[in-house]
Assembly symmetry: C3
Homo-oligomer: 90 residues x 3
């Protein structure tokens, strides 16, 4: 219907197809650990908990309110949250 | 060779460079836990296991068939899989 | 000021808004495990550690130098790192 519009759409499509993969190469998952004394450890806002590690060799944990690691064993001296976020490169 | 094409390409490039970072700010890693009784817990299709948590304080686990947490210790009463996926914002 | 430029910009914006979500559907978080004997296990370059699993039921671990799982309990026979990366689909 509108040949110019269509031509430009096609070009946008083509350029996008090569620009996106190139840009995504600079987008990485970035993770780090936040440790606290006791049985709770929290990730900063804007990050996600992917795992928790507990003192006393304990492997039983749950995540509370999306951002807080809670270690469940009897006597826990420390708790660490593994916090991750997407980082868009330049 | 084709001045118009080049001008449009350049414009697409420029606009893409500012549109992508803005759009990626709305793309987040979203994770949640799926718990089951016994020594196995599965993540739903389209998600990825980033970690497992086991009952009885057990920290020995492996991931089977990409989506299933398997806790290895002797007597496991529950297993939780940490399931993650990218969520593209609006 | 430049009606043509503005019209093309608008078109780029519109097309980008539909192209990106479609392309992001093919971008997934991909994770797998790397196991080693002993108390250390490393993820390959370009990936991120989201969690560690330890032999002997141990749930106490930390991540060294961003890519290496270190299990802390007394006698550890094996260590596994959960390694993740973004994979841009075609």
């Amino acid at each position: 219907l509108c040949p110019m519009d269509e031509a430009i759409s096609k070009k946008i499509n083509q350029d996008f197809s090569s620009l996106l993969p190139a840009a995504m190469k600079n987008t990485v998952l970035h993770c780090w650990s936040v440790s606290s004394r006791g049985r709770l450890a929290s990730c900063p806002e804007g990050t996600t908990v992917t795992s928790c590690s507990c003192g006393s060799g304990c492997g039983s944990w749950d995540v509370r309110e999306d951002t807080m690691c809670h270690c469940q064993c009897g006597s826990i001296d420390w708790t660490a949250a593994r916090c991750c976020t997407l980082r868009v490169g330049s």
